[in-house]
Symmetry: C5
Subunit: 365 residues, 5 copies
């Protein structure tokens, strides 16, 4: 939840060594390889068991999209190094999925690391790393979980008239980028709903239930923000890039992605400010409520303490006769006055009325 | 209210697909098309039902202002794509009105997306997206609601001697920009009044009523800020732009708009700081008020608790004779003293005076 | 006080239209025109009723300083447009005095809008807009109030040996700029005194009186800051400018003004931090004071509540005989013990001592 | 713990004077010198007592790694000045280990000062300065403590097939840099665990124990941040450097280090925000808890104070006969009513029920 | 203490007029002039009464260091204007010692204004302005107080083998700069100690005494920060300067000063964050402590108020016989029950136990 994935090589490991931190874990060997080859006219989907068995694309004639689903093992990546001649440092970043969104340029290849935010069934917000290797006529995509993500793309690809089929790998790359970037929109929508409901709760009624929820929303905004800022920077660099695999006509599309990211960052920052404002409001409402409690307490105590004292006075048992039998005139003569009892009531009512007037003046009532 | 409009295409949608998120809603098909054609000498206003029926302007001879009022349907925008050859990504942004203010340059066309802030009848602050397509001799304006906005422009246009009539589309564009930018002024004026009244309330009297109001003002400042910052950037880019449709003589006017935006941002930031300061003041007043309550409570309790204890002591019923009838000399002999009762009063008055002196010294009274 | 002057044209007004927002107000027609013409040898002061009657300066031979005192009417500005050929947008900014400090360059003319902060007789801090039109051999100054401001300049100008008389309009401009910039110094001095006295109050004694005052100082620092930051930027732009009316030898003087502004901004930012620190200190002192009150209350209640309960017990009237006359041995036999009363006192003293020891241990006493 | 090491020369000392601030301390003379010479084929490890006895490397044929373990004395550094012709200012920075991470370029030599963060056995986070002198075919490393740090490197170096053995001093430098940079990962992991456990404590149960711990984590984040920011800047400068000792093929490795640092800074900043959020949450929970206490107190006092007053009234001893024996009809006649006692109970139950209804309405119960 | 020195010329004064704000004060006429002339072989120290009597240095043959101790009078500065041909604006800045650290370049001369922070005997932190005029073979230093500052330099200068004697005025300038910059180290050391002691107090025991002290430390950090930031900028500009009086070999020394300043700023910013964190900790501890008090109060009141009410009930005097003598069976029959008194105790013990269980469950005990 804090964005720390614990997937780093121990300090002193040779950089580029393809070692998973917990080797032999259940994660290995489950990678599914699905290869889509398409031209405008044809499209073929194959599944392979080993990356070495995937035939490399014939230059220019078709576009190949290699989809690696599930967690990749070091062994699979090792094959990539051999086949595609990719720098081992880049492969290490595919393996250890705690990367910050970034773009690395190698000769003839571009590696793009993205974060895909998604909502779990229990409503938590998670991020998965999507790694893309893009070249002239090939895109390799790595996605550790949430495989159904690319379904809309595959569906669009079915139609020979779609722009996807009519274009090359750079448009496929853009479609993937667009898909991942836009995945933050439903999350923003949910956060928007959350914030509005929390705000309503805090402004109108008992806000205590909203406190943990508010904290959670602020945390989720932090996570989203940590994804979006470097993603914006990344797309900005792609726009002003110089690659041989990307046509100039992709620019409006990248610019569109960029605008989406900027818009999202805008929203996230605004939400953060709003959440902060709601927190302030919560604190001040809490303080106001305590003030009310204390004021009620003070008014009640200030009125009844003197009264209780007075009735206590006339509950004392001072004897009208001394132990030797002589009468004591000073011993609570009020108790024997004809109007003693009504006078005490008068006194007490007077004190009460005085207090009430006093508190009304002070605006405490 | 949080600035999230929920008008985004679902992730994975083909970019540039003109699909409204809730298609078939009541919003479709209500677009009113009003076309103003003018030269310095003539001016003609026509209404059309379909955009395809609008005759395209003859180059250079006249300026055309196509006003699209009300929400646009994808079908209408599709016609624009055909007629004006506009990139579908741009049209998508006209359809989904949650855009950040921005300017997009296409060949021969510039698209400007602006936010128009306005006050509803119930006093709420809303923003509407105004989209402008500007070319050499044409301006197309899209405004989803608040149609009466452009009335002052149409009025100024009536007069053949107005600068609007004497100039081309670039000046018309500026007039629209100026109009939209300046619409924040009345809102700032209202916020200014709000803040001053809240401040007065908090500084002088019972501030509780002002709390929700203060929160609302801070929210509205956030909304305004989110509109103004990108708008400033946008105008800055327009000033340093290279377009064929805009003459150098427009520069002072754009510079004027820019100055207005900077001035507004200045005000908004100052208001934010002031509102924050008022919030701090509120909190500290609240704390001061609670302090007073607690102090009153403490003083009352500290004075009356000992007194009540004392009168309680002499309300005890210890018997002067044991159950076997022998007299008990230690059983509350004070009750039988001649001056027992006055002495108790003296003791209690002494305690009270002592307490008062103590509290005076501590400056609690 | 919030820096919003409500002097803006309504949205949709033609830009550059010289319309005061509340036309026909008492402000019109009171402009006093005083013209100083000087060379190193001569100096003449004239008063005019209309700007059209002011003879324009002969090039190079003398320097003219046209001083417009009091609020200007649109009519007067209209004359300026005719005579000096000034862009109406610039004149609009002279009329609507809510401008941010800025410098506008036109051909042969430079317009500088400055904010002059000053202290009213009641101690409030206000800002007035000073507008300057500077050309080769002329300076026009507009100042709506506070006319005596320029007195020191006029005095210095009397002496033929003064640098003012020996220089041209650019030095006169600098002298005005310097005068306006330095006017913040006495204000900073007063704020410095205010802050020090508030700080002393908060640190040593009863701080409640200081709260509103602290809020006011923070507000005034905001106002000053809003003046100083754009003013710094403005002078920075003047230093790196390219004007025909300004000699290179003015640079050290502008640099001096710039340094003053930077120094003031430094002070204002430091004061803001100090004021924030004092506010924190106030809050924590308040909290500490409340803590003390609550602690006294708790100690008193914790000691006396049990005691009052005990004496209440022995004030109960349980009868030693049942209603049928049989004696009840369990009915408060303590009341008939020989040492019942002293034992109760022992018990109560024991409880009190125990409580005090307990509170001493907890450091509450 | 605050990052101030007190190892600075007193003001006015000649810069570059190699004087330890506390000379003659236990730190001197313990430097261990271990020299590793390696080519791809051979590797030799020697230990020396004096730096002067270390033979200088033959150019190009082999790479030399001189490891200085333990605190260095000025005398040892003096030898370096003579042998390697290093500027005394640089040597001073090796001696006084409170440097900020930085890189200094001299002719033929580069000095890099890094901070190695590590966790002590008691769980505290410390930082040690590692100083590196890098030239064409030599690396000198100074590390005052924590000698076992370089063990993984020495182990990797054993294998002739390792990249370390196959490369020159620039790759050795990178391996050291990588090692030091990555040492922050385990610390981040521990902080991540700490923060999550604190957050859980604060959100769910009694948070008081978590307060000091939270403060400590925030302090440690500050320390880490102070190390990471300049380290990032340093590596950035190394990437865009121009040195003769570093080959272009090192770039991906440096870029990798850079990415790690950026990722760490990202985490640290996120943790700082999260820790701040937890602190806010703590404060508001505390306030909520106090509110509950006060509310309970107020409810109890508001219910029982009137009741105690009422029973006090009927505990008064007003006598039904005056001292002269005449009966007093006003003296508490209720005490003699047939249903006086049940009526008092009815009254008290009524008051209690009323209060409870009142508090239920106010949502205090 | 707030850094405002009140030494500014009144607004409207001619810039460069050498007028002290409070002329005729005790400050005038006390300037001591001490002139050191040195080559590598010789060194002579002379004292003069008037600056006009100081012989100007012969070019290239020797270096002259003119030390002006004590406050300078306008008259003395006037002499400098004549002798050295210095711009009067620069001299004004020497006179009015409230300058921000800055460097001004004039032809053949550089003026550097620095702030020297020092600790008074009472432990307060003050800053003095040190002004330096540097030319090809001369340094003039102005220091208003704290004369003994330069002693270490004069001592180092005695030795002919010192680098000071072997170098020209640029190294002397550096030595002065270094001295002044490094003077912040002992202050940082004291602040470090202060912060650590305050932190310990706040974390472990009664923090009230630490509050004012913490505020003072924060103030002193503000002062130091205001000195260090412009000083860093100043040295940065000196490094990238183009002066005729400064050799390229000074660069490492200036770089060293720059590093020191950056390191100090780092420390100051870290301290500011730590002090803020301690303040937060203080507030939350205070809040926690109040919470404890209130909880104790609530527990005590909740237990004893019902008990006191119960004993109050049985202290009522309802008569078992009506005033007409008929027995009243409802008049407190419990008082006559055989086990009335023990039953009341049972009831009260039951309530107490119930309350304690309740509070244990709520974790209030």
């Amino acid at each position: 939840m804090t964005g720390f994935t614990k997937q780093y090589s121990p300090p002193g490991t040779s950089p580029g060594a393809l070692v998973r931190r917990d080797p032999g874990s259940a994660l290995d060997g489950q990678t599914q390889i699905e290869v889509v080859r398409y031209t405008q006219d044809e499209m073929r989907v194959d599944r392979y068991d080993e990356i070495a068995m995937v035939p490399m694309p014939d230059v220019q004639s078709e576009t190949v999209w290699i989809q690696m689903h599930g967690p990749v093992s070091p062994a699979v990546l090792e094959q990539f190094r051999t086949v595609l001649n990719i720098h081992s440092l880049a492969l290490e970043d595919i393996l250890n999925t705690g990367q910050r969104p970034k773009v690395d340029e190698y000769e003839g290849l571009t590696l793009v690391f993205l974060k895909l935010p998604w909502i779990t069934e229990t409503g938590e917000i998670k991020t998965s790393q999507v790694s893309l290797i893009v070249s002239n006529n090939m895109v390799v995509s790595f996605i550790p979980d949430h495989d159904e993500l690319f379904e809309p793309l595959r569906a669009r690809m079915q139609s020979p008239s779609s722009r996807l089929r009519q274009s090359d790998s750079s448009y496929l790359f853009h479609a993937l980028l667009d898909l991942i970037v836009d995945h933050a929109f439903p999350i923003l929508e949910r956060l928007d709903d959350d914030i509005q409901s929390i705000e309503e709760t805090v402004m109108n009624s008992d806000p205590n239930s909203a406190l943990n929820q508010l904290h959670t929303v602020r945390r989720e905004l932090l996570v989203l923000r940590k994804v979006l800022w470097p993603q914006r920077e990344l797309i900005g660099r792609l726009i002003s890039r110089e690659n041989d695999w990307v046509g100039k006509d992709l620019d409006p599309y990248l610019k569109d992605c960029y605008d989406h990211t900027v818009q999202m960052i805008d929203l996230v920052e605004t939400y953060r400010e709003i959440a902060g404002g709601i927190f302030d409001l919560y604190l001040s409402k809490e303080s106001k409520r305590m003030n009310e409690s204390v004021r009620v307490l003070t008014v009640i105590a200030t009125i009844f303490m003197p009264l209780t004292f007075i009735v206590g006075v006339y509950g004392m048992n001072f004897s009208a006769v001394a132990s030797d039998g002589t009468p004591i005139p000073w011993a609570m003569p009020e108790l024997h006055w004809s109007f003693g009892y009504p006078l005490v009531w008068l006194l007490m009512i007077g004190i009460t009325v005085g207090m009430i007037v006093f508190f009304k003046r002070k605006r405490w009532l």
